[in-house]
């Protein structure tokens, strides 16, 4: 049994904690939910994941050493909750057959290189036209298709704007690992967008024929 005085102090600190905690959580709720949506891919599970992470965060609030770090701290809890939920459900790790080596073909894949036409005159910009045709839904689906390991870093970096250093802290891996996973994740993402665009008929003519077309066009005009 703890002395009475200590108990009272504890009560006061907790009341202060709660106001701060609630304000922070409510302020970050859209962001936490946005990240959760891309991690678990549906609203219901995303709501459960956020609620679970918030509960865990409250229980381990003493582990937050610096209140300035609240955002990376709670995202770390969200990410860990997601990872441990995957393990509990005995979801087969999707990364088994994938190496983290960024020199793989997927990392080298570049939408820009597929789309860019160096002979085009300045008013033509097929790569920007391509991006303009993509819907929010197309992008979300491409993120969802990434294996967990790479999806997490793409979500933390491109969607939530965390720095490499912050991500290293969130995932407890070296910065070099963050970089290589991110490179790999982005390569896979661009490949998925390319595949989707082809299937959806967003890309109609082949690069070769359009190049010829623009070459002819250029000769006619100049």
């Amino acid at each position: 049994m703890m002395p009475l005085q200590l108990n009272q102090e504890e009560t006061v600190t907790q009341a202060d904690d709660r106001g701060f905690f609630e304000e922070k959580v409510i302020g970050l709720l859209d962001q936490l939910f946005g990240a959760a949506m891309r991690l678990v891919k549906n609203r219901e599970d995303a709501e459960d994941l956020v609620a679970e992470a918030v509960t865990k965060a409250w229980a381990s609030r003493r582990s937050l050493k610096d209140t300035e770090n609240f955002r990376p701290w709670i995202f770390r809890i969200l990410t860990n909750t997601f990872i441990s939920d995957c393990r509990k459900r005995a979801v087969r790790p999707q990364t088994e057959t994938l190496s983290e080596n960024p020199s793989d073909a997927e990392t080298a894949f570049s939408l820009f290189e597929e789309l860019h036409q160096p002979f085009l005159l300045w008013w033509g910009n097929p790569e920007k036209e391509f991006l303009n045709k993509l819907l929010r839904e197309d992008l979300a689906k491409a993120v969802d298709a990434l294996p967990d390991l790479f999806r997490i870093v793409v979500v933390l970096s491109d969607l939530e704007g965390f720095s490499y250093q912050e991500m290293a802290g969130i995932l407890k891996v070296p910065v070099g690992t963050v970089r290589s996973r991110l490179a790999r994740g982005r390569g896979l993402l661009q490949k998925a967008l390319w595949r989707h665009a082809k299937e959806a008929g967003l890309i109609k003519e082949s690069k070769k024929s359009s190049e010829r077309f623009y070459e002819k066009d250029k000769n006619d005009r100049l």
Binding site: I26, V50, V54, W58, Q190
Partner: protein, 79 residues
């Protein structure tokens, strides 16, 4: 003014994503910015990657419903 090292496309591409992520040190950043000013292909590529990044961020933006916010508030109230 200190002279900026001139880098080639290969070197520029290697650092492009870190540049867009604002993760390059000042010296490397100046080299890359200089290259982008003089190289049209790398300039276009930087614009493309930047736009894709912006679109991804927008695609990831979600808004919780009022019901869920209430649920979280009542959860917090029980702590």
């Amino acid at each position: 003014m200190k002279k900026i090292k001139t880098i080639g496309c290969e070197e520029a591409l290697k650092h492009l994503l870190a540049y867009l992520d604002q993760e390059l040190g000042p010296a490397k950043r100046r080299e890359l910015e200089h290259h982008i000013e003089i190289c049209r292909t790398c300039f276009s590529r930087a614009e493309f990657e930047k736009l894709l990044k912006t679109q991804l961020r927008e695609a990831g933006r979600e808004t919780v419903g009022a019901a869920f916010e209430e649920k979280i508030k009542s959860l917090l109230g029980r702590f």
